[in-house]
């Protein structure tokens, strides 16, 4: 197992380095001139040149990348357009000249919202997806199975901005069943936090649960016919207990993988959901950075999202290896 963990971690790190290089290249491939964008529309060419120098854009590409990586690992000092020098702590993801703030700090401000949204949505997704998948598999081919499959298909086929507005209109504005979506730090007021996030959780979780429900249904159906499940029954285990202990274990692998991907993707920012419900998370931050041609912020957000995906996919792999000892061999 130890060798598996080491191998997997090394892989994850290699992927991150590759992504950081790609994101950095993106910075230069973008049609906008970072210095002009940072300086603003009213700058003359002399000012832009000064900004370019202060941003280090006159340096060779490799040197800039090394600076960037050094910043990520150890932090560095960065000159703002106005000439002041700011120390950017590790992990330093560059400096947003638009916000006059290190990108990592700006991201950190938006992360709690995204964390809250992701955690709740994943919980909804798990309960809904696994629940319907399990019941569907147990009642395979019967009416319950067909009803549930149809229900999850609705989730998969409806766009989140549409469902989000409808749900908000019905549950908040017309009936007042739920409070208006908003973010309150859970440390301040847990009830307000949960209340404000409930609708986004439900909508985001429901829309994403369809794939999960379908996968868990097919996985469980396949595993149900495994001979070790029959052995479990022949040992004297009841049907439900045999399925809970053996079938679900056998079906878990791909589900855990999917969950890892889903978690990583959501933590990278749920742009549409955040926009629909007016939540100020990483997704909206990234969208605004793109709109404002704030390239350092865009690169930072991309890198952060990549980190989350790589991290959670690696975690999922480790979980799968823990669940199924045969995986550790390959």
């Amino acid at each position: 197992m130890l060798s598996f963990v080491l191998r997997r971690t090394a892989q994850a790190l290699a992927v991150l380095v590759a992504v950081s290089a790609a994101a950095f290249a993106l910075f230069y491939a973008a049609p906008a001139d970072p210095a002009r964008a940072a300086c603003g529309p009213r700058c003359d060419s002399g000012q832009v040149a000064a900004v370019r120098q202060s941003m280090g854009l006159d340096q060779p590409l490799a040197a800039q990348y090394t600076d960037y990586l050094t910043g990520v690992l150890a932090g560095r000092d960065i000159d703002d357009v106005d000439g002041s020098t700011i120390h950017c702590d590790a992990p330093c993801l560059g400096y947003s000249y638009r916000l006059h703030q290190p990108v990592s700090e700006a991201l950190a401000d938006h992360l709690p919202v995204t964390f809250s949204l992701t955690a709740g949505a994943l919980a909804v997704l798990l309960v809904l997806g696994l629940g319907t998948g399990f019941v569907s598999a147990l009642r395979h081919g019967r009416r319950t199975d067909r009803l549930l499959s149809g229900f999850t298909l609705v989730g998969a086929s409806v766009q989140i901005y549409f469902l989000g507005y409808i749900a908000q209109w019905v549950l908040v504005y017309s009936t007042g069943l739920l409070p208006l979506p908003s973010y309150t730090p859970p440390a301040e007021d847990p009830a307000a936090w949960a209340g404000g996030m409930l609708l986004p959780w439900l909508v985001l979780g429901f829309v994403n649960s369809a794939v999960f429900a379908r996968l868990s249904r097919s996985q469980l159906l396949e595993t149900m016919n495994e001979e070790y499940v029959r052995t479990a029954r022949a040992k004297g285990l009841g049907r439900l207990r045999a399925h809970l202990k053996y079938t679900s274990r056998g079906a878990a692998g791909p589900l855990v993988q999917l969950l890892g991907l889903e978690a990583g993707a959501l933590l990278g920012g749920a742009v549409i959901t955040e926009t629909v419900f007016g939540l100020n998370g990483v997704g909206r931050f990234a969208a605004q950075a793109v709109a404002g041609q704030d390239l350092p912020a865009v690169v930072g957000a991309v890198l952060l999202a990549a980190c989350f995906v790589v991290l959670f996919v690696a975690l999922a792999d480790l979980a799968v290896a823990w669940l199924d000892p045969r995986v550790r061999l390959s």
Partner: protein, 566 residues
């Protein structure tokens, strides 16, 4: 109490007149077709008794309903699709129609099951000790975890699994050890009845013998009654007191095993017994089959002379596979699948390649077929070096060397009809036009005992034996000079195996094609092959004429192999 079971030739002696452990009367099991077709009756009006300490063999071909009986005893069929009628009494308790909670107590408690394939039947996610401990705790609700673990370790020790391997997962054990774990688990709660469903079919002969011996020992120790379900009369012969033959879910006959094997009364049983090859049957003769219990056909005696030019020459063949790295950065130790093997096949000759699983026999045959590149060594076909074939040679090899695989279910494309399957090699390797190819396809089917009516059917519409015939027809299509058959009859029932062997012997005589016949089954090899090469752990142990090998084996290893055949 005297039990009268219709069809029994002798009344079975009962020890002290006690009630039988298992008493089955008029058992009928019917499966509903989920697609709404006619229901299928798997077992019909079956009655038998099993006394304490007795071993009863339940024998039949696939589809005879023999496994259904075992599952019905434990009520393991899906009640939504299965109807079970009649009576199954275990120690006097009626099980047909019994409630789920009563059945749960019986399963694994008073009656336990051993399944065929321990690799798939044991949970891959739990250590073997934990799986045994669970069995114990399920039926000893008061037992502590520690107590269950201790009992599990004791039981594993009894079947020869050392204490330091109790926590290992099933995939870390060999096939024989896994099956021993399975048996230990079944006997965990000292059941009165053990149902063993093909317990050794997946194992090599030597390991099979060991496992059967262990099963017999434990059975005598515990006084357990055993229902041994098998298609293999050889297994039944050495292990059971009585044998019941099933066909199509109906009893054919039942008698003490020795009597049944020595003087089978029913033609069907005679065919089964005759089809089961032994090391003392006459090699190369037409085998009795269910349709033709006393075949009249004879084959010419085989004469293979030392040729001017060998069809296949293999010298010093070595194949290594990259091994698994134990730690990142460390060098991996290669898996030495084949080490320095030499082999000759004359035109028209049949050479048997024998060995246990993992001996390298399949890898060797894959090199000959051009499916595996050798690490080193010389392989030539008809005088030409084939280790690095150019385009033209590759084309010639793919025409002149054909393959027949073990699993007729997996080796035919389920989405292509027989006509399409046979058409491809003809289109690739012959100049025939479409109508000519069609004609040739019919001819090929007739050669293997099928007919034009089968052309437009899909593989799933055929039985296992018929599918293997289609596989053979496909191999014959480009008129090959060498057929590499990798365990071609191992997945088949004995009677079907006999049919396919008859077919191969007939084709060999008619077409003068050479065979490399890879098999772990010595009796089959002895019957079919002219010369035999024995492999063990990647090396060639012995290679000589059939009669010399079976009459006077040179090596200890070969003698051991021969001794394990019943």
């Amino acid at each position: 109490m005297k039990t009268d079971v219709p069809g029994d030739r002798v009344s079975v002696p009962r020890t002290d007149g006690a009630e039988p452990v298992l008493s089955v009367r008029d058992l009928t099991v019917t499966f509903a077709d989920p697609r709404g077709g006619a229901p299928v009756t798997a077992v019909r009006d079956l009655s038998f008794d099993l006394a304490a300490g007795e071993v009863l063999g339940l024998v039949g071909e696939s589809g005879s309903g023999k496994s259904t009986v075992g599952l019905a005893v434990l009520g393991l069929h899906d009640p939504r699709t299965t109807t079970v009628t009649g009576s199954i009494r275990l120690g006097g308790q009626e099980l047909v129609g019994a409630g789920e909670s009563a059945l749960r107590e019986i399963r694994g408690g008073r009656a336990a099951l051993v399944f065929q394939d321990a690799l798939t039947s044991l949970s891959p996610f739990h250590g073997v000790g934990a799986q045994l401990a669970e069995m114990y705790r399920l039926h000893h609700p008061g037992a502590t975890r520690a107590e269950a673990r201790r009992r599990a370790a004791e039981m594993l020790d009894r079947v020869g699994i050392p204490a330091d391997r109790v926590r290992d997962h099933p995939h870390r054990f060999s096939g024989g050890m896994r099956q021993r774990v399975m048996i230990a688990m079944a006997l965990m709660n000292d059941p009165r009845l053990l149902i063993a469903d093909e317990p050794t079919t997946a194992l090599d002969a030597r390991v099979q013998r060991q496992v059967l011996d262990l099963l017999g020992e434990l059975q005598r120790e515990h006084g357990t009654a055993v229902l041994l379900v098998s298609h293999d009369l050889g297994v039944v012969a050495g292990t059971t007191d009585r044998t019941l033959v099933l066909r199509g879910g109906v009893r054919v006959e039942s008698a003490p095993t020795a009597e049944l094997l020595a003087a089978p009364r029913e033609p069907y049983t005679r065919a089964l017994v005759g089809a089961a090859l032994r090391l003392d049957s006459a090699p190369g003769t037409a085998l009795p089959t269910v349709d033709d219990p006393s075949p009249a056909r004879t084959f010419r005696p085989r004469v293979v002379e030392r040729p001017e030019r060998w069809l296949v020459e293999v010298d010093d063949l070595t194949v290594h596979f990259p091994g698994r790295r134990r730690f990142p950065g460390l060098r991996a130790e290669p898996v030495r699948a084949v080490e320095g093997v030499g082999l000759r096949i004359a035109p028209g000759e049949t050479v048997g390649l024998v060995g246990e699983s993992g001996s390298g026999k399949s890898t060797t045959s894959r090199v000959l077929a051009g499916l595996q590149r050798p690490t080193s060594g010389r392989v030539s076909y008809d005088g030409q070096d084939v280790t690095n074939p150019d385009r033209e040679l590759r084309r010639r090899l793919s025409r002149e060397i054909q393959l027949v695989f073990q699993d007729p279910y997996a080796s035919l494309n389920p989405r292509r009809t027989v006509a399409q399957t046979l058409d491809t090699p003809l289109r690739l390797h012959t100049p025939l036009t479409a109508p000519e190819r069609r004609e040739r396809a019919v001819e090929l089917l007739e050669q293997v005992g099928l007919d034009a009516g089968h052309l437009h059917r899909y593989p799933h519409e055929f039985s296992g034996g018929q599918r293997q015939r289609i596989g053979i027809a496909r191999a014959l299509a480009p008129q090959p000079r060498l057929i590499i058959a990798d365990e071609p009859v191992s997945a088949l029932d004995v009677s079907v195996q006999a049919q396919v062997l008859n077919l191969l012997m007939e084709l060999r005589e008619r077409l003068a094609v050479a065979f490399l016949f890879v098999s772990h089954d010595l009796a089959v090899v002895r019957h079919f092959c002219d010369r035999v090469a024995v492999m063990h752990r990647g090396r060639l142990v012995e290679s000589t004429d059939r009669d010399r090998l079976f009459g006077a084996p040179h090596t200890e290893y070969t003698r051991g192999l021969l001794a394990a055949v019943h």
